[in-house]
């Protein structure tokens, strides 16, 4: 377990921050793609160590946050069907759909269960052969291999009562969409280390080239993130744009090939709607024809569900980095973790929730001081 304390060392963190201060000469906007990184930055106060020239923009890499409201409404509808056992990761339960969340369905008698792995849902399907078991299969490339494995296992076992509500999304197309946006301000990316542990980082090389943007594969502990920022600043200052791996203890160039093979077996690319952002072409995965039987959207009558998001929620701008959470009028007033207007206020990894929970609503004088106590 030592890896935890080693990468949280205060002295080394201050040294890295000092090095960043010594090499930086002008303002740079760097996006950490992953919600886990946003969470770590705010929990540890990493932003407070950085020189004012570094602006961190919190990216769209929170699976809970980008899952479209329409899919959540479909989940709510399926979970409310009598006899269905609806399995989900914990932090999806509080994400608001058009009316209520999975907790609401559970309190009205729906059998909604928190699982820690899709394989737990397979186990439930085996122990309850007469009841339909549905798993809410969302997330980035990180959670997708286990979901693919579960679907493949269900197919191999011939489980007829198991299905998955799939909404997987992919990081590289999102980076591409952000760079193509006319309002984009991002000058460098910290790529999500755990996504890269599965997919490798070779996918990012063409992106860095095409958009002339530095991309640093970055971990999640304070020292990982500071090292990622240091490398990004060094590239920006030197005017270069390459893909760097600052997380070599976990990530290789080619990634986890066994996982990739399983993904290719079960999923194929598709256009996906990102909550608050819109449709990004070829930015997600859906089940291949061979596995259609396991598609919950085909099994249950939810095709007709069409939903719109709350017009008051500006999470799309937050997720694209053009608005800081506390700059939203609803932040901390109409929108709190108790009454979230959008998913970014719900998840542990949502930028709005991270700002709210770690007290970034104090001293809203200027943007910089807003991030300090």
């Amino acid at each position: 377990m030592k890896y935890l304390s080693e990468f949280r060392n205060g002295e080394l963190a201050r040294q890295l921050a000092a090095e960043i201060r010594s090499i930086i000469t002008r303002p740079w906007a760097i996006m950490e793609v992953c919600g886990g990184q946003t969470h770590s930055i705010l929990r540890n106060g990493i932003d407070q160590l950085l020189p004012p020239e570094v602006e961190l923009i919190h990216g769209p890499g929170c699976p809970v946050c980008v899952t479209p409201v329409e899919l959540i409404d479909k989940a709510l509808a399926i979970a409310a069907i009598p006899d269905v056992i609806f399995c989900s990761f914990g932090d999806m339960l509080r994400v608001p759909g058009s009316s209520g969340d999975l907790f609401t369905v559970k309190s009205r008698g729906g059998d909604v269960r928190i699982v820690y792995s899709p394989l737990d849902a397979i186990q439930l399907a085996k122990t309850h052969p007469t009841r339909p078991v549905v798993f809410f299969g969302i997330g980035f490339e990180t959670t997708a291999p286990a979901n693919a494995m579960a679907i493949h296992q269900a197919w191999r076992l011939g489980l007829t009562n198991f299905s998955v509500l799939v909404s997987h999304v992919l990081v590289p197309p999102a980076i591409d969409a952000i760079m193509r946006s006319p309002t984009n301000r991002v000058q460098a990316f910290l790529a999500a280390g755990h996504v890269c542990s599965v997919m490798g980082y070779h996918q990012y090389v063409p992106l860095a080239e095409r958009h002339r943007v530095p991309i640093v594969v970055t971990g999640f502990e304070p020292l990982d993130i500071l090292d990622g920022i240091r490398r990004a600043v060094r590239q920006l200052e030197a005017g270069i744009h390459t893909v760097e791996n600052a997380y070599p203890r976990v990530v290789t160039r080619e990634g986890n090939q066994a996982a990739q093979a399983m993904l290719a077996e079960v999923f194929e690319e598709t256009d996906r709607t990102w909550r608050g952002i819109g449709v990004i072409p070829q930015s997600g995965w859906k089940l291949r024809d061979k596995y259609w039987d396991f598609d919950a959207e085909r099994r249950f009558p939810v095709a007709g569900i069409r939903s719109q998001e709350s017009p008051r929620c500006r999470s799309g701008e937050v997720l694209q980095g053009t608005l800081k959470p506390h700059q939203c009028d609803a932040f901390g007033t109409a929108c709190t973790p108790r009454t979230p207007l959008g998913a970014t206020m719900v998840s542990n990894e949502g930028a709005c929730a991270a700002y709210y929970n770690y007290g970034r609503l104090l001293d809203l004088g200027t943007e910089r001081t807003a991030c300090r106590l």
Partner: protein, 351 residues
């Protein structure tokens, strides 16, 4: 033909032989009586209980009384390091102890689900009895109800407790002063993670036992060493974060803690990191958090460390005039964050 002799004929009553709770166990008739006679009384044995009246009659202590009640609905009923039985005694004892009271008597109400194995009930009751002996309290009266199958979750227990508050002892958040020290009696988060570790589908390599324990011994020791303790809580649901926020809100002062001074065992920290939980929000069942005058803090910590339940006691922060009513944590890398009250239950994250 001789007359039938009815003297030796009894209605068959294999009541004790039921392997499960049946509705009749809560019916107030013979089955209920058997349950009391064969299970509860032998386990909890004491004169006040054995009178079996509608109320226990006990002599009143001089001075003030402390009263508390708590319902226990933990699932699973048995977990590493304890069961609902220990929780039901220790939790109520601890509520009295952190209020500055010496726990004396408990009551116990059982809501049992039809079909609940009597062997499990027996085990729970025995564990309650052992916990009561250990804590030095008596369970003097109780009640049992049985609900139909599907209308309960095996076994719910409600205990109430009566304690005696010695003259002159006044604990409360209004006693808190800027400069006071904040201390905890040991590592945070063990109970919550112990429960999580045995819930469906989560298997850890290491067994993390619950910290359930009666704190009245440790607290008596603390109050003997430092009679000026300002306020104490046992940080159960909502964890340390909830207790500290309560102190800050009710005293009007700010509280500053240091992340790296808060004891958390490595397996608990690893489990929290894995699941995306904050150990400061995870429940404890055998820990006390106290605010004490700064000059007394070091001596108190040394004394606590002599006690088996306080070996890892630590000063984790101080009360401040800064950021009134807020709890702020200093992070190891030199940053800070506000510790807010949790929304509800913490939810394990996706990735």
């Amino acid at each position: 033909m001789s007359a039938v002799n009815f003297d030796n004929v009894t209605c068959p009553q294999p009541l004790r032989d039921y392997p499960q709770v049946v509705l009749g166990h809560g019916g107030g008739g013979q089955l209920s009586a058997e349950l009391i006679e064969h299970l509860f009384v032998p386990a909890f044995r004491n004169p006040a209980l054995e009178a079996l009246g509608d109320a226990a009659i006990v002599p009143p202590p001089a001075g003030r009384l402390a009263l508390t009640t708590d319902a226990y609905v933990v699932r699973p009923l048995f977990f590493p390091g304890g069961s609902i039985g220990e929780l039901a005694v220790n939790g109520t004892v601890n509520d009295l102890a952190v209020s500055g009271a010496e726990p004396l008597y408990l009551t116990a109400s059982f809501i049992l689900e039809e079909g609940f194995p009597l062997a499990d009930l027996q085990q729970i009751v025995e564990r309650m009895a052992a916990a009561a002996v250990h804590a030095g309290v008596r369970i003097v009266t109780g009640d049992t109800k049985v609900v139909e199958r599907g209308h309960g979750d095996g076994c719910f227990i409600t205990t109430a407790g009566v304690g005696w508050v010695p003259p002159g002892r006044t604990l409360g958040p209004e006693q808190i002063r800027p400069g006071d020290a904040v201390l905890v009696s040991g590592p945070m988060g063990n109970h919550g993670i112990a429960i999580l570790s045995v819930r469906e589908g989560l298997e850890f390599e290491t067994v993390i036992p619950s910290d359930t324990a009666a704190l009245n011994g440790l607290i008596a020791h603390m109050l003997a060493v430092c009679p000026d303790i300002r306020v104490m809580r046992d940080p159960t649901r909502g964890g340390l974060a909830a207790s500290l926020n309560e102190f800050a809100r009710h005293s009007g002062w700010g509280i500053e803690i240091h992340d790296n001074r808060i004891p958390v065992e490595e397996p608990v920290r690893a489990a929290c990191d894995l699941l995306g939980l904050d150990p400061l929000l995870v429940a404890n069942e055998g820990k006390v958090v106290a605010i004490v005058p700064a000059p007394a803090a070091d001596g108190l910590i040394t004394a606590m460390q002599q006690h088996p339940l306080g070996q890892q006691a630590a000063i984790i922060g101080q009360v401040t005039e800064q950021h009134p009513k807020r709890v702020v944590a200093r992070t190891p890398i030199g940053g800070s964050r506000i510790i807010t009250l949790p929304m509800g239950e913490q939810l394990p994250r996706i990735c």
